[in-house]
Amino acid sequence: MTAPALLEVRDLTVEFSTRRGVVQAVRHVDIAVARGETLAIVGESGSGKSVTSFAVMRILDRAGRIAEGSVRFSGIDLGGADEAKMRDLRGREIAMIFQNPRAALNPIRKVGQQIEDVLRQHAQAASDAAAKAIAILEQVKIARPKERYHAYPFELSGGMCQRVVIALALACRPQLLIADEPTTGLDVTTQKAVMDLVVELTRERGMSSILITHDLGLAATYCDRVVVMQNGRVVETAQSKQIFTSPAHAYTRKLMRATPRSGVTLRELLPEERLNGETPHSVKSPAKLNGACKAAGANRAPLLVVEKLLKEYPRKGLTRSWFGNLLGRNQPPAEQLPTVRAVDGISFSVHRGESVGLVGESGCGKSTTSTMVMRLIDQSDGSINFDGQDIGAIPAKKFARLPLRKRIQMVFQDPTDSLNPRFTAARAIADPILRLGDIRGRQAVRSRCEALARQVGLPLELLDRFPHQLSGGQKARVGIARAIALDPDLVILDEPTAALDVSVQAVVLNLLQDLKEQLGMSYLFVSHDLNVVRLLCDRVIVMQAGRIVEEGPTERVLFAPEAQYTRDLLAAIPHPPV
């Protein structure tokens, strides 16, 4: 770094004025980006990483302001620049890619026109705008760019939309690209394709880029240098190799530890101090005995047997007449209706006390499978046998009030969405007990809730809070407590940690493992993250396009995959330099 830095952030402090006074989101941050360098800013939610980038772009919302420090971009003082100057710089000199590509594109304009808009805005094109837009689409490796020029965002997949957003960002050949969680919400294979593209294009053009992410592995794989932020401060800046081999700061070490990666066990994810002390959940309890009894039946018949499970959905908008639509009668005889098979005749089984991982990318049918097993939707064909009873024959609508309901429960993906905003934590946990449990009386239900809260490590004083007063990890614990309230035999975990920070994820995964051992439950773990599945599951089922492509013991599938698709999935996981 002999040349002067392209972007130099010095002593930056950003304040937000809120109801409870002024909050400093970013405190005295120094960041420098050299020309042609790729820098990563890594941190968990609330670390101030996004706010820093918003301050650089000067797009803080009205409550926020730069309180101290300076932002200099190739000699220009961005902190003092007026709005007209900033408008000119944004897009032309500094471009930004946001997390949700669909939200970043205008839904009612063709993607090609949107690229043209950017070009015209910065006077980079006039009559040749359309041709230039198509050329840019080609550069971001969109197949058939001439056709795709006329596509609307909803006609493109998530990964494709992100490519269009990248095309928009790079259209005017900016010198600096800021990517704010560009691949969160995308599948691993898509993530790899998008990141490879970003790195290739920025290298080719000699651009600098800043990658903002919560994923240390992704940062270290694709960036030259990594800045680690915590609570609005920079705690460590180092070359990415160094971050992985010898992290200097305690927080970086904690973050590194908590990141699921190959070669570590579930317990090793927890912070060091937690390992030495006794884990709060491993205390002997009557439930443990109960669990042992259940586990003893491991060699008996499997708990869940799914055979030739099939789910078809009618393909929309093909055979409807306008008149039929008007009357709401749009159903021609079922056999003539063209259908999409979300789940295409899959068979698998789950034994007692076993954890089975169901892995695949979005749209592979893993969630549809789990909701059918859960009896929330009806299958089109096939059978679901649970402990000898054909629960597939019971319509989903009737299943809710049957005693069998108690034995199959679920932990949802988004802890916020799955809690009723108007129920306190205690009320949420008590709901299944009130409806299906055999505990009666206010006092008894309350003490059961408290016992469950202790079991999942939720402080009792939080029981009377509403979901919006709880943190993500606390909400996840409430969701887990609710799922185990009726002492179920099978729990389906639908990406239970996808919405959580890595350090929280580590704790929650360990909690799930402890609970399984204590209560002798079986898990069906639905996830897209192979690293997480490896930690928790005995057996893995890999799904693609509604079918099972590979099935077997976790170690075998992950270390000696047979199917090409499994190999692709494994290769797409970021492999940081070690």
């Binding site: 809120t18 109801r19 989101a25 968990e44 939610s45 609330g46 670390s47 101030g48 915590q230 609570n231 609005g232 709401g328 859960m374 929330l376 609508k397 809710a400 009030r401 309901r405 108690k406 429960q409 679920m410 949802f412 993906q413 988004d414 969405d417 799955s418 809690l419 009723n420 905003p421 108007r422 129920f423 949420a428 709901d431 299944p432 409806r435 299906l436 490590g457 939720l458 402080p459 004083e461 939080l462 009377d464 809070r465 919006h468 007063q469 709880l470 943190s471 993500g472 990890g473 606390q474 996840a476 614990r477 969701g479 609710r482 799922a483 920070d501 350090s503 929280v504 704790v507 929650v508």
Partner: protein, 296 residues
């Protein structure tokens, strides 16, 4: 700032205290809302204690002081029968407010529940409720209300019913939209797993979540309900003279406008305007209070 799974002690006020402090914050933050709340309290006081505090009997005529302009003894003047306009305006508050509240409660029960069911169940329920709402919307609403009262009979109950029916589509649509977005929400699925039947989910899980929006809707339509009831009385349907009611008083006073006795129609009209204005402002303020985004 960082979320810690184990939960650190946070100073959160809970329950009633939090609600009161939040209301105080919104009122302090927005003077207009505070003003609307003040007006609302005045209107409610007038409705509750009006007949006890007014200086004259609202029905007693005294022809010796007929058609007197506003003065110290008769603040709003007197009408053609010598009745005190001020007393009549205040006493009328109770009847007008009662009609409005009753009709809003009725339409909430009909439209709100039908809308929630339509949004949650979809299918035939949705189609039927939707078509009913469309049909009602196809009429000029005031003419429809007139028709209903004329057909069913000239009573206060029928005014309430007619006002409720013309407001039905507003409630049904808002409730339907709100229930529809929550239909597949995680907490609804979770409620199914907990063994809740569909109706229990509808009433116990979905309805409480859309209540804040419905309350705002109720406040906003309250003003319209008052106007509608007064309008019906104005054209001679519903409440009959000599009962003090704002609509009738405006109607009676209108005849004297040309001869210069403006106060007979002006003051009840003003009361009507203030009431409608108050409920509309209140609706905006309530939205701020119940909006969870502002409650952090």
């Amino acid at each position: 700032m960082t979320d810690i799974a184990a939960g650190k002690p946070q100073a959160h006020a809970t329950g009633l205290a939090a609600t009161i402090s939040h209301v105080r914050y919104v009122l302090g933050d927005n003077r207009v809302t505070a003003f609307a709340f003040g007006l609302f309290v005045l209107i409610v006081l007038a409705a509750l204690f009006g007949p006890l505090i007014v200086p004259y009997d609202a029905l007693a005529s005294n022809t010796s002081v007929a058609l007197k302009p506003p003065s110290l003894s008769h603040w709003f003047g007197t009408d053609q029968l010598g009745r005190d306009v001020f007393s009549r305006v205040i006493v009328a508050t109770r009847l007008d407010l009662l009609i409005a509240i009753a009709s809003v409660a009725l339409v909430f029960l009909m439209g709100g529940l039908a809308g929630v069911a339509a949004g949650f169940f979809g299918g035939w329920t949705d189609r039927i409720v939707g078509r009913i709402a469309d049909t009602i919307m196809a009429f000029p609403l005031f003419v429809l209300a007139m028709g209903i009262v004329a057909a069913l009979g000239n009573t206060v109950q029928n005014i309430v019913l007619a006002t409720a029916i013309v407001n039905f589509p507003l409630y049904a649509r808002v409730a339907r939209a709100e229930a529809n977005v929550r239909r597949e929400a995680g907490f609804v699925q979770a409620a199914r797993l907990s063994g809740n039947g569909e109706w229990r989910i509808l009433l116990g899980h979905i309805l409480p979540n859309i209540m804040p929006i419905m309350i705002v809707q109720m406040s906003l339509t309250m003003g319209y309900a008052i106007l509608n009831a007064a309008g019906l009385s104005f054209i001679g349907l519903g409440v009959r003279p000599p009962t003090p009611e704002w609509g009738i008083m405006v109607a009676e006073g209108a005849a004297f406008m040309v001869s210069g006795e403006w106060w007979i129609a002006f003051f009840p009209g003003l009361a009507l305007m203030v009431a409608v204005f108050c409920f509309n402002l209140l609706g905006d303020g309530l939205r701020d209070i119940v909006d969870p985004q502002r409650r952090t």
